[in-house]
């Protein structure tokens, strides 16, 4: 039986564990702002677009013969998701197309582009599977480097500029009148969402990245009140899910992304149950107070 120490010191698990911690903390931070702005599905759209980027990276890698073949996949995903994020924000701002239609186009365009381009690069859609559903077997030291840098940016912006981001996502009109850089802040939020999608897709998978952004926030909302507390609790839930899910897959042969997301959903269910019990108790107490009178 593997001890936690064995896990930490094993070469296969060390990188994924570090990445899991970073994903568990960063995804819910971004998720809090996305939920606040009613953009819960943005991460999903960006995950799909990132696939086109993975395939583009693959294509460029094939041209310049990199080893391994997919060395440029993550940089490609990063480029594509950031461009996708900027496109979404632009569409939202000019307001010609409704936001959900724009997101839908991003979803389908992203996945279709990925499948077509990977074929052009000499691969098959099978090669995309690891990026779609997540994997720990393929994490390289350069992946780790990129992940650490991206996570540091997301943490610095998401936590350091929390006051500004909260003010703009909470009440854009008031933020404008306060002279806050509303447009730049909105761009910043979608860009850190794109960075998070890129850093999380390797382990959680492009199709499930968004779940780790949104579900911990929903869980936190069942338990606590207030923006800052919601964010803190969401980060804790995210960390428990991503680390717990990854450790579990070291003992049982299961895909990490799916396990992490199911854990998150499980915690949400627990949160809903806890809230229901609390409300019952509160109503009961209120009745008891009223009864003697």
């Amino acid at each position: 039986m593997l001890t936690p120490w064995d896990l930490l010191t094993s070469d296969i698990m060390r990188y994924p564990l570090i990445i899991a911690v970073l994903i568990g903390l960063t995804a819910p931070i971004v998720g809090t702002y996305l939920v606040q702005r009613r953009l819960s599905l943005l991460g999903d759209g960006l995950g799909h677009v990132a696939l086109t980027g993975v395939a583009m990276g693959w294509l460029v890698g094939a041209w310049v013969s990199t080893t391994p073949h997919d060395a440029l996949a993550i940089p490609g995903a990063l480029t594509a998701s950031v461009l996708g994020a900027l496109a979404i924000e632009y569409v939202r701002e000019i307001g010609h197309t409704s936001r959900d239609v724009a997101l839908a186009i991003l979803f389908y365009g992203g996945i279709a582009g990925g499948v077509v381009i990977i074929q052009l690069a000499g691969g098959t859609s099978q090669n995309l599977m690891a990026y779609l559903f997540g994997s720990i077997s393929t994490v390289t030291s350069s992946d780790l480097g990129i992940t650490v840098v991206l996570a540091a940016i997301v943490l610095a912006v998401g936590i350091g500029l929390r006051g500004l981001l909260f003010a703009v996502t909470g009440d854009e009109e008031f933020a404008r009148a306060s002279g806050l850089p509303v447009r730049a802040t909105n761009l910043l939020i979608v860009v850190i969402a794109a960075l998070t999608v890129t850093l999380a897709m390797r382990i959680v998978g492009a199709l499930m990245v968004s779940a780790l952004m949104i579900v911990p926030v929903a869980t936190a909302q069942t338990l606590v009140i207030g923006f800052n507390r919601t964010m803190r609790w969401a980060m804790m839930v995210g960390l428990v899910c991503s680390l717990g899910g990854l450790v579990l897959t070291a003992y049982v042969n299961l895909p990490p992304g799916g396990v992490i997301v199911l854990l998150a959903i499980g915690m949400y269910a627990v949160g809903v149950a806890v809230r229901a019990v609390r409300e019952r108790v509160r109503a009961h107490r209120a009745q008891e107070v009223e009864a003697p009178a």
């Binding site: 606040q36 008031f174 404008r176 207030g226 923006f227």
Partner: protein, 255 residues
Amino acid sequence: MSRPDDSAPQNPVVDVRKAVVTLGSQRVLHSVDLEVRPGELVALLGANGSGKSTLLRTVVGALGLDSGSARLFGHDVSRHRAHQQLGYVPQHAAESGNIPATARETVATGLLGPRAWFPRARDLRVDALLSDVGLSGLADRPVTAMSGGQRQRVMIARALVRGPSFLVLDEPFSGVDIASRELIAGIFRRLHSRGTTILVVLHDLGELEDDITRAVVLDEGRVIHDGPPSQRPRLDPGHDHELRPVPALGQELDS
């Protein structure tokens, strides 16, 4: 009655000249002029769709102009030089975010400005303002769970937390219970008596009838009256003109 003639060189607080604003394909303001002098309490009146909220949003710099100019304390509004002196209470705020923020968190955002992006989480001014509007016991309650009147008081505390000398409010009494109406009107009177300039969009003069120094009435994006409130044109005497617009003004109104 309202303009202090003895202080000639003083900059007007608001100076809007020939403001033209188009929203979508509709022209909402047609060459509107608006001046507010220090210490005035100006009411902006008009039927729904007359452009009063749009004018207010241009005054605070939340909306750009097609042409004309808007100056706040002598500075171009779009440059946000005078934001520290401005407190703004938008219409139906606090309904935009999807995560219920507490009253304290909401009020603290009022401390932010063009070069102030890092509010101190536990600023004493926040708690002082919440107590001023009678909500110190509800500081950690979510604003969305509050009554209309309590919510409006949170918005007023947010506008006042930076200590502005000019307060701009968009229908501060709409959806507000009687007790809160009186409390809010009391706050305005106190601020006005201390020299705070106030520009407020109203349905009717109501609680502030005796305090308003000047009324500006808009109709279809044009100023049709700018002077003493007692001489303003009666849109529909005896009734709320919002509910029963007279035909001449109300032909194209949607409510």
